[in-house]
Amino acid sequence: MTIASKLKEALLCMKAGRVTLPYPFEPHDPEEGFRGLPKVDVNKCIGCGGCANVCPARLIRVIDKDQSTRVLVFLYERCTFCGRCAEVCPEGAIEMTRDFELSTDDVHDDMIGEYHIFMGPCERCGRCYRPPTALDKLMKPGMREDTIDRKCPMLCPGRTEEKE
């Protein structure tokens, strides 16, 4: 009885063949929809800080380095890969990549992202600004230092006069 069941088990195992993944020696890509390390495309980012606002791990820091540079610092070591930042980004600048091989012996140096975004400074108050929506962006081409128009932009929170 027991020998018969053992034989049956052995047969079953033989039929299944080898099931172990050869993984660390051969690549094994994640499934569709897998969320890996979020990366920012600095060409698309408008520096609105929406991602920093929703990140549950509060790992995105927005620092205005000088009058025309805004820096997004991602402390990736505590990222929960929830994808909220990519979902909320109005420009689709954040991509949840499929990178999952993140193991490291120095998490503080390797798991960090620093993105320097160019922002036009307001002529009047000197603060970084970008129009809030893509529609506003279409209407106001002068966002950058070289093309900025002489009027204080209507959206600037620091504007005091010049209502049209």
Binding site: R78, F100, S103, D105, D110
Partner: protein
């Protein structure tokens, strides 16, 4: 250093690990279980999970370090005979995860223990844990590196930032 030399000697052989949950949501612990199944089969690297820290060479820590568990984890760490290595599994153990600043959490595992290897992920895929082990054993290279990109005023440029251009950022 003699400790590093000993670890180099010990690691490629059979590594016995003791798994500690110091406040994890159990996501990471389930993935650690997965790694031990025949499908992922960490035992082909000689890895075995043992029931007592006194039998272990490596300590697997998952979850954020809570105030309650920190003294106990410290005692577990001291019970592991030298030379020992500590793996932090999951975002909680690597940096505190989304609990990094809550009132009952001290932070990542490195607030209490000297962590040798980090496997971020929430939870990390079983493949990611295997990759971490294989990297620690020297079988595969490290894939991750810091990301730096800069957008210039006139033309957009993406380039590596020089060391002195980077912002200095302190961590909490």
């Amino acid at each position: 250093m003699i400790r590093d030399w000993l670890i180099q000697k010990v690691l490629p052989r059979s590594l016995w690990v003791y798994h500690t949950n110091c406040g994890a949501c159990n996501g990471c612990d389930i993935e650690v279980l997965d790694v031990l199944t025949p499908y992922y089969d960490a035992e082909r690297f000689g890895i075995k999970v043992v029931g007592s820290p006194r039998h272990a060479d490596a300590l697997l820590v998952s979850g954020p370090m809570t105030r309650q568990t920190a003294p106990a984890v410290r005692r577990v760490y001291e019970a592991v005979p030298d030379p020992k290595v500590v793996f932090a599994i999951g975002s909680c153990a690597t940096g505190g995860g989304m609990w990094h600043d809550t009132y009952n959490v001290l932070g990542g595992a490195d607030q209490v223990l000297p962590v040798d290897f980090y496997v971020p992920g929430c939870p990390p895929r079983p493949e990611a844990i295997l990759h971490g082990i294989a990297t620690a054993l020297g079988l595969t290279p490290k894939e991750v590196h810091a990301l730096h990109a800069i957008q210039e005023a006139d033309e957009v440029e993406i380039e590596e930032l020089a060391e002195e251009q980077r912002l200095v950022h302190e961590r909490e």
